[in-house]
């Protein structure tokens, strides 16, 4: 019998934690914290050349600015940092590698003085040839972004190729690819490209660091998704014990992966650890332009996909080449490259697979984690390729997908058997919801209407040993203190955790509080990434709650002299119906119970739980094969009904229908929020977003004026969403992540709908007005169906692009 009763448990539509403070504006983000008059401000001086040797840095004029305390350069803080590959120093040392790279840090008594000082540092460079095109960088070693690559430390599952610009090379070798292509009735070859894009969270990065001059202990307040990973990366680089670094993450204003791992903290530490500044807190708030230039971006992407298909429409083999443009650092970006690699047959069963997925260094801002983690890039290519193949074979695109679906039990491209899912049901529902085969007239005069579909899949992409732990303390009035160091960056994970605690403890959600992470108080969690928190931390938290509940029940059974199974906790009241006893949780829970023998027993009840995925084995380096390469996949599908104005190239999305199999919705209000938000972010990426550079590597889109993200005027008229709940075996409630998935496939669904509307296939994302217009014009003038624009080689056409890579 279930021993707890609550109205605010798992699966209930409850409102979110911390929303009242957010609505009032009283919740304090890092930039809102007060540090008193000892606070100093730091401002970076940034490289103005894309690749060059630093000849000199003249600080003298900056030091004359009133309020400037110090100007720090790379040699003052010569440490390398990195999550998977230590290829990044917080400031350039001897050499700059992109426009925007920090070359000096001005520290001053006020933000204004720091800004003024930064303008007065003068740096001389000897320019070197730079490389911006990831395809060129991957295939031509005349410019090396990191000639020292061979000396960088890295984790075992990353395979940098010294002497080249390849920071990671992930391979899948499965079956007999040559035989598949020999036996094929049809061979298709497609190319797709996607530029770098920006996260566009509204809160710029901000952190405050201080080092105690005596104990050398470091405290960091940061807008970060990853307190423990930040702590561990810094400790590793500086050679300090973990216990001497405290990382505190107040609420953050959006993450989307952009605040994962370590971002600007090391740059701020260069000041906080400086002998002349030690003991004073240093604040580093970076401007919007600096966010665009010098924090993670989603990596640019170029894909070539070759497919071998038989007459019946079965895919026999796939040969993939992916170039991820990781900019000057792959310390984090090496991993989305793996993610796309080990998922490189998407939602399909393909028996013969050959995949080369490369992280390629270029002289541009660097790639890292971004909602979807390699999958929006890859699925934008694969789902478009699937559509092309279906059309070229004269098959229905939905039927073609269903025919090749990765059904439960079939092996993925790494050889892992696919678990149970409801993808077939989802695809059918989406196709029907969008009326995929129903031709409908455009609502707008002179416009063309089209419909398209794309499937979505993603596993949490993380090391095999990504662990979580949690503690749950029941306080003396029946309140509950949950310490689970996931970051609630808006996705609502604390609401989900409170619902889990409510479910397991029988205590109403109003009495439960989850605290923002602090490495000093919270037990360890790897990072808040990979849509893993409700699953991984959920496992730890559920165990912690069970532990606390068992302690409570054990004490009450002795106190009341009844069997533990006769005790229930109902809405915060402990009951034994058999004995007619009922009392709200009170101070006994922390001070101890006076037992029938007159002696006290108990003391504060603290439950603890921990979790590490029990059965994941890293894919083999040579073949990518593993009996269980990832913990699980969340699958789904997106259908888009849009119309496009052929005279301007403008796209309006009428309707989106999407569904995901998330196992179990712990907090439905937040699931809805993730689906709606991710869908619009995906549409935004598909229609308007891209980071563009001039031929010298200068970012042309460093602000929200030039880098457009969706405003309220850019959303679809209607978003219809649903979810299926096929339970996951190893999971607290059968749940799988869904935070990232909604962003994966709106863009390819738009691309496929555009083809349906215009009969023109645009291989280059995003589908901006200009590009759509040009594609229509090219079709009208030359009859070319395929439109290809690659920002680094404007004259190249689509077929030549493919050939030139051989």
């Amino acid at each position: 019998m279930k021993q707890t009763v609550t109205n605010s448990g798992v699966g209930k539509w409850v409102t979110r934690m911390y929303d009242a403070e957010k609505a009032a504006g009283t919740l304090k983000f890092v930039d809102d914290l007060e540090f008193g008059p000892s606070l100093l401000y730091a401002k970076a001086v940034r490289s103005t050349v894309p690749h060059g040797e630093i000849i000199s840095i003249d600080k003298s004029e900056a030091l004359k600015v009133s309020g400037v305390k110090e100007v720090i350069v790379g040699e003052d803080f010569p440490y390398r940092f990195g999550l998977y590959l230590k290829d990044r120093s917080p400031m350039a040392i001897k050499k700059v590698r992109y426009i925007g790279e920090p070359v000096a840090l001005v520290v001053a008594e006020s933000e204004e003085a720091a800004e003024e000082g930064a303008l007065k540092v003068s740096v001389k460079y000897k320019e070197l040839e730079a490389v911006f095109d990831p395809v060129k960088a991957a295939t031509d070693n005349s410019v090396l972004v990191h000639p020292e690559l061979g000396s960088y430390e890295h984790v075992d599952f990353i395979t940098p190729q010294p002497g080249t610009n390849i920071a990671n090379w992930f391979r899948v070798r499965r079956g007999d690819i040559e035989k598949a292509f020999k036996e094929a009735d049809y061979i298709f070859e497609e190319a797709v490209t996607y530029p770098q894009i920006a996260h566009g969270f509204l809160e710029p990065h901000c952190c405050v660091c201080v080092q105690d001059p005596v104990s050398q202990e470091i405290t960091i307040w940061t807008a970060g998704q990853s307190v423990f990973t930040t702590r561990d990366i810094i400790a590793d680089a500086l050679g300090l014990p973990l216990s001497k670094i405290r990382v505190i993450a107040p609420p953050i204003g959006g993450g989307f992966g952009g605040k994962a791992g370590m971002t600007i903290e090391a740059l701020c530490l260069a000041a906080a650890t400086h002998p002349n500044l030690k003991g004073r807190p240093i604040k580093l708030f970076i401007s919007r332009e600096e966010v665009m230039l010098s924090s993670w971006v989603r990596q640019g992407y170029v894909a070539r996909i070759r497919m071998a298909v038989n007459k019946e429409g079965k895919i026999l083999g796939i040969k993939n080449t992916f170039y991820f443009d990781t900019g000057i650092s792959a310390e984090y970006g090496a991993n989305p490259v793996r993610s796309a690699g080990y998922t490189s047959t998407g939602c399909y069963y393909i028996p013969n697979v050959w995949t080369d997925s490369y992280a390629v260094y270029t002289n541009k801002p660097f790639g890292g984690a971004y909602r979807g983690f390699g999958m929006p890039e890859f699925m934008s290519a694969l789902e478009m390729a699937m559509d092309i193949v279906a059309h070229k074979m004269g098959m229905d695109p939905v039927e073609f997908r269903l025919k090749n679906l990765l059904k439960p039990g079939l092996p993925t491209c790494t050889g892992m058997p696919m678990h149970n899912h409801a993808l077939e049901t989802i695809v059918k529902k989406v196709a029907e919801g969008i009326g995929i085969n129903k031709e409908e007239p455009a609502k707008r005069n002179g416009w063309k209407r089209g419909k398209g579909i794309a499937l979505a899949i993603k596993a949490p992409a993380m090391p095999a040993d990504a662990a979580s732990s949690a503690t749950v303390e029941i306080l003396g009035d029946g309140s509950v203190k949950v310490l689970a160091a996931s970051m609630d960056m808006g996705q609502g994970v604390y609401t989900s955790f409170a619902q889990i605690a409510s479910e397991e403890l029988g205590i109403p959600i109003e009495k439960i509080k989850c605290y923002y992470p602090d490495t000093q108080s919270h037990p360890y969690d790897w990072q808040t990434v990979a849509s893993r928190s409700c699953w991984s931390m959920g496992m730890a938290l559920k165990l912690a709650c069970e532990d606390a509940r068992n302690q409570l029940i054990q004490l009450y059974s002795e106190y009341w002299q009844c069997d533990p199974s006769e005790i229930t906790i109902e809405h915060g009241v402990v009951k034994c119906r058999k004995l007619g006893k009922a009392e709200p949780i009170d101070t006994k829970i922390q001070n101890g119970f006076k037992m029938p023998d007159g002696k006290y027993k108990g003391g504060p009840i603290i439950g603890r739980g921990h979790f590490v995925p029990p059965d994941v084995i890293y894919p083999d380096i040579e073949t990518g094969q593993s009996p269980k390469s990832v913990v699980h996949f969340t699958v789904g599908a997106v259908g888009v009904d849009l119309e496009v104005d052929p005279h301007t190239g403008e796209i309006v999305v009428n309707k989106v229908v999407c569904g995901y199999d998330l196992g179990k919705a712990i907090s439905p209000l937040n699931v809805r929020g993730q689906i709606e938000g991710g869908t619009v972010q995906g549409i935004s990426a598909g229609i308007m977003e891209g980071m563009y550079y001039d031929d010298k590597g200068l970012l042309l889109t460093p602000s929200f004026t030039d880098y457009k993200i969706a405003t309220i005027k850019d959303i679809p008229d209607e978003i219809q969403y649903f979810w299926e709940e096929t339970p996951e075996e190893i999971s607290p409630y059968g749940n799988r992540g869904v935070g990232e998935h909604s962003m994966i496939s709106p863009a390819p669904a738009i691309g496929n709908a555009l083809f349906n509307a215009l009969k023109v296939r645009i291989h280059s994302y995003p589908f901006t007005r200009e590009r759509v217009y040009k594609a229509i014009k090219q079709f009208d003038e030359k009859g070319n169906v395929d439109f290809w624009e690659y920002p680094f080689a404007r004259e190249q056409d689509y077929k030549q692009a493919i050939k030139s890579w051989d």
């Binding site: 957010k22 504006g25 007060e34 509204l202 609420p251 808006g490 938000g677 869908t679 309220i712």
Partner: protein, 157 residues
């Protein structure tokens, strides 16, 4: 730079700030602990610093402190009652899941407040027009539109 005194009404109270004339209204507020006014870009693009100046929603990063001399300014904190009661707009945002990270929320709510003062029963198009200067990256705006309609209904009652 020499400092000047600026007198204005902040959330119904007479207030005097002392600051350099070049100080933006955004930075002045934040220096005085009014941190509901967020800095998301300081370039007038994102709307997270939106406040009402004499009833008109303004991006406070685009105003200098002296410009509010003698004017009345309302921020998100100013909508909260003396005992912490939330304004119907704030309540509707919570009930409809229109808040995620919360960074755009105070500015967004000020734009909604200005809209509903002028137009107690806005259409979808009216809402989109009024909020087009406030970016939100988390919600996809769908829940925000729901919240504005709910708030409008609550306020009409």
């Amino acid at each position: 730079m020499s400092e000047i005194k600026v007198n204005f009404i902040l959330n119904g109270r007479a207030t005097t700030y002392v600051g350099e004339p070049r100080t933006t209204l955004l930075r002045a507020f934040r220096a005085h602990g009014v941190t509901s006014v967020k800095r998301g870009c300081e370039e007038g693009e994102c709307g997270t610093c939106t406040v009402l100046v004499d009833g008109v929603p303004m991006k406070s990063c685009m105003m200098l402190l002296p410009e509010v001399e003698g004017k009345s300014v309302i921020t998100s904190e100013g909508l909260v009652g003396p005992n912490g009661e939330l304004h119907p707009i704030q309540k509707a945002f919570i009930e409809e899941g229109a808040i995620q990270c919360g960074f755009c929320t105070p500015g967004m709510i000020m734009s909604v407040y200005a809209l509903l003062n002028e137009n107690p029963d806005p259409s979808d198009e009216d809402i989109k027009e009024a909020l087009s200067g406030n970016l939100c990256r988390c919600t996809g705006y769908v829940s925000i539109i729901r919240a504005v309609k709910k708030a409008a209904a609550m306020m009409r009652e």
